[in-house]
Subunit: 342 residues, 4 copies
């Protein structure tokens, strides 16, 4: 068998470990041949392929990023896109199928291609941990560690100055990174997209922490919105609200908290450092296992499915079950953490 491998969407620690796992298992156990597809679906549409051998993946379990490159291209767009063109390309290059490593968007495209006759196997990749049908996705644990470590640092500065620190982490639609890193770092309030809070609900916890002599730590996911945020913006007439594009929600929240509590407040947007660099041990193991099982699944012809982690097992889940709805933080998990806010 000859299989193409692509990575698509945003960067995520563990991508290279998946590639390595699939190539090692495929070449050694099944005598498969691999080609790398450059820059996600773009490389598939443009037939930008290169041989991917055991030698190419050596030492990759610890290397951040993806040796395949990535992009956010849609395989159905452009002159050369679409299932029919891609089928011809696969035929021309004697490719028996594709392993597509990516998030919700990538896997939705994979599902559509698979329905249109292109054999595609999915590997879930999301730094935000927003995919259903997998307990965790690789990259998430690394992001939580990086965010937690950053918050440990912010806290000592908060304590020294008796300041409120607002730390903004990734999570456009779901609050998993905020929930876990905030719990790990001892946040006094965690703000996630799933649970809108009013400014008063936030400052209540900020003030309570300050009254206990603590420097308040507010953790906020980038996708969090204040209750009635748009109205609030125009009512308060705060200049900050006219600048939503630059900077993040934490840069909006910090002056509001300072204004409401009288406590000096600083914000930090952790940004891209959360999604690059060497993966944690957990993510290397998870990503490697997903890669190993992807090779198995390909041999079994399990197209139209993705490999996923459930408990301590790697399982296969049809795209139809995995996609469509994001894996959000359940209210019970938020309330569990809220017991720590004090």
């Amino acid at each position: 068998m000859k299989i193409g491998v692509l990575t698509s969407g945003g960067d995520c620690p563990g991508l290279n470990a998946v590639i390595r796992g699939a190539v090692l298992k495929g070449t050694e156990a099944y005598d498969m041949e691999f080609v790398g597809i450059r820059d996600g679906w773009k490389g598939l549409v443009e037939a930008d392929f290169f041989p991917l051998t055991r030698r190419d993946v050596k030492g990759l379990s610890k290397v951040g990023g993806t040796i395949l490159g990535t992009s956010r291209t849609n395989p159905y767009e452009g002159d050369r896109g679409g299932a029919e063109n891609i089928a011809k390309t696969l035929y021309g290059h004697k490719l028996d199928g594709i392993i597509a490593i990516g998030g919700e968007g990538t896997l939705a495209a994979a599902q559509r291609l698979n329905n249109d006759g292109i054999p595609v196997l999915g590997v879930p990749k999301t730094i935000d941990n927003d995919l259903r049908a997998t307990d965790y996705s690789f990259g998430f644990d690394t992001a939580v560690n990086i965010a937690t470590d950053a918050m440990d640092r912010l806290r000592t500065t908060g304590d020294s100055h008796q300041r409120c620190m607002v730390a903004e982490v990734m999570g456009r639609h779901v609050g998993w990174i905020a929930l876990h890193s905030g719990m790990a770092a001892g946040a006094h309030i965690i703000c996630i997209p799933e649970v809108p809070l009013s400014l008063e609900e936030i400052t209540e916890h900020v003030l309570a922490a300050a009254e206990r002599g603590r420097a308040p730590l507010v953790v906020v996911a980038e996708g969090f919105k204040l209750k009635g945020q748009d109205e609030a913006y125009s009512d308060k007439g705060l200049d900050a609200f006219n600048r939503p594009r630059l900077g993040g929600i934490s840069e909006v929240l910090a002056p509001l908290i300072e204004q409401a509590t009288g406590i000096e407040t600083r914000s930090t947007v952790l940004g891209h450092i959360q999604r690059g660099g060497a993966p944690s041990g957990f993510d290397r193991v998870l990503a490697t296992r997903l890669g190993l099982h992807a090779a198995d699944a390909v041999v079994d012809g399990a197209w139209g499915q993705m490999v996923a982690m459930q408990g301590t097992d790697i399982v296969r889940v049809p795209f139809t079950e995995a996609l469509g709805e994001l894996h959000t933080v359940p209210l019970a998990r938020y309330e569990e953490a809220a017991a720590l806010f004090g």
Copy 2:
């Protein structure tokens, strides 16, 4: 309610996070009162208690070790030990029950005490991840990260000198740390207690790696034994075999590998650094959640059980189900990893 908390057995990152979780949830949600019990069962037997308030647990989620102290005392030993004496002590101090945080031995004692009428709730603690009924135990992820990071360092030195590096990690009875850190670091062979190997089976992988131009990495759990190890020792007459007490199995293996392959070989015993210091994000979250749920379980009167992680949930498991047999590495997991040895 008034509850005593103790930590028992070897050190483990996350102990303090469990204590903090239980105390915060118990005091804030349930108006419980806590006392710390010093140095494990020893403090229970000797009634060495101190008040444990919200203030005492502040900032603890990131702090390694245990503020309660720990020991390896058996609560049934000594003049003042045994269920009857302990029952009197609890009565005298108006304690309604005990949260015992510990491993197989600690929980076995907890089970026996509980059977003898002392209300005890367990929280599983094992750096080695050797307890059944919990997918992971806190401390394990931190140990894997420390070991993986150390192996990343050893590998560059192996590469520079074209040496074989043997890294010894914790795991007296089970090979989980070796399996995960070895997989994460790209080991060429992983040696665990569950899977005895002959020297030849090890050196085969060492030589194969060297032939591919790699510096071989051998990861070995402290409890690993060579097939027919005792016989081998006396046959070869190697001086190393007369020194089993000092140093670990890696210090036995390294000269054997060097002798058999002709490749310069060095061993490193990671030792105690694997079980101290700040917990990883994963372990902070897991330990905190276990603490939170321990307070819930106490309120529910779920004595004789332990809280545990299954999938992404925290559940309760009776001691009878949790104990008796260690959580070893299944052969399927070892074979999965073996696909990477090459």
Copy 3:
């Protein structure tokens, strides 16, 4: 002798190690007594003192922040400020002098107080490394390590997407953190306050790196200004220029670079994480030594001086020599690094 200790200005890893060093040496070797002064000069003006014993400083070498608290108050301001009032306070509390740990502003105030008859000894503290007469100041090495680690992460993401990454580090007036972290991380261009560059000079290096197949890394100190920045802003009419208050210079540069080169460009402001948390080994040693020598200097009556690092020695430097002009990056050091830009 009875000595007050204060920390003033922004947070900096190593403050606690200085305090510990001074208290341990002073109490053990010289039988000195110490009082902590809360929140910098503010606590001195308000006589907000507390006993500072050996017990209070235990374990502090690795702890970020300052147990004394800090502020940016000027001791000459307010009703109770000024040398005369402070002299009365010292007399009333039987304090023989002050150890003031702080930066340019703090030490300038210390100098003025010393001239006005208050015995003050200085310890230089600046995350930016902008003080003359000391080769390095504690906190700087930690900041460089944090920034370097962050850039290592940004680079893998840059490589995966073939993006230009702009990393903004601290350094309002001097470019030391940018110079060292940029050199350590392999930056393709480093922008520091001491060396204004035009956008063209920056993009030339960005394009050269991209042509060699590298993902360009631009490191910029917060105080960097483009040549003729103000004019450029209005000429180009770029919306970004109307938002100088929110976000940093990197958020101005990134869209300009993207526009000029056609290469997708992302910015990250590292911000407060650079100045909090556990100090590096280097900073712990430097800060501890400064503390030890501060106690020696106090015993010798070396008021009006600061302790400083020169080569591997800790020396004493009169305030007059240490202050007045910032320690900027010499052109030769910038040109040395520029050889790497390619």
Copy 4:
């Protein structure tokens, strides 16, 4: 000009950064050509060369180990060794000189070759920081950080069990790593080769720390010897003393301390993890600067010298001044640190 580069002796973080610095400066600024010499002097004697271009050194500032390989071969040994043979090899390959990166032994060989007419420039490399004429050598700072981090972890375990922890670090002849990491980690006694101590002098500090309620931390360099160690061994008849080859001095000390104080004592030999892996920011900058200046020195024909760090400057020092006597810890520096032992 065409220059060969070699690395010789033990692994050390920063070797690759030196190589990168020299090649980038040499090729870009001076149009020099480089060849890599494999495995130290061995590759020179065997003419094992390969082209070393800008492309080969990309991304190397953060990579541990050496892409050139290393060995402990003496260039004057073997049939093909000696200055005459090497001169012929250089002539045959049109090499104008050698940059030799190594420690005392390597540089002594470099000096001898240079005296025998082979143009050699030295770059000092020693993890132990035992070379004179350079304030610090690259690799040392990384080793101190690794050791300090490990000790931070050991301390929490010591505290939890009220144990004495003995941490053994590198330093066969000099105690710099022990001095700096011990100071950084708050050791209660530091044992270095330069200052022999009796067991009683050590246990005095161990007991004093325990009496203050601290878990004692003993830091020991591998080259430390007890006062009258050999006699003591035979007197006490301790089995441990018959096993000097396996394990380190800490494994000898730990049982002696436990026996003398009654405090449970554990030892950890940090070993090879101190000399591998990614260099710290400090070491990357130092190593890169040494590489840059090595290229300058070659162009200036400064053969028979080594580049070195003095204060914040990179200078040139003749081999005659740099070699012959090791850079030991001065008694004043030890006594400075001893003020912290308490």
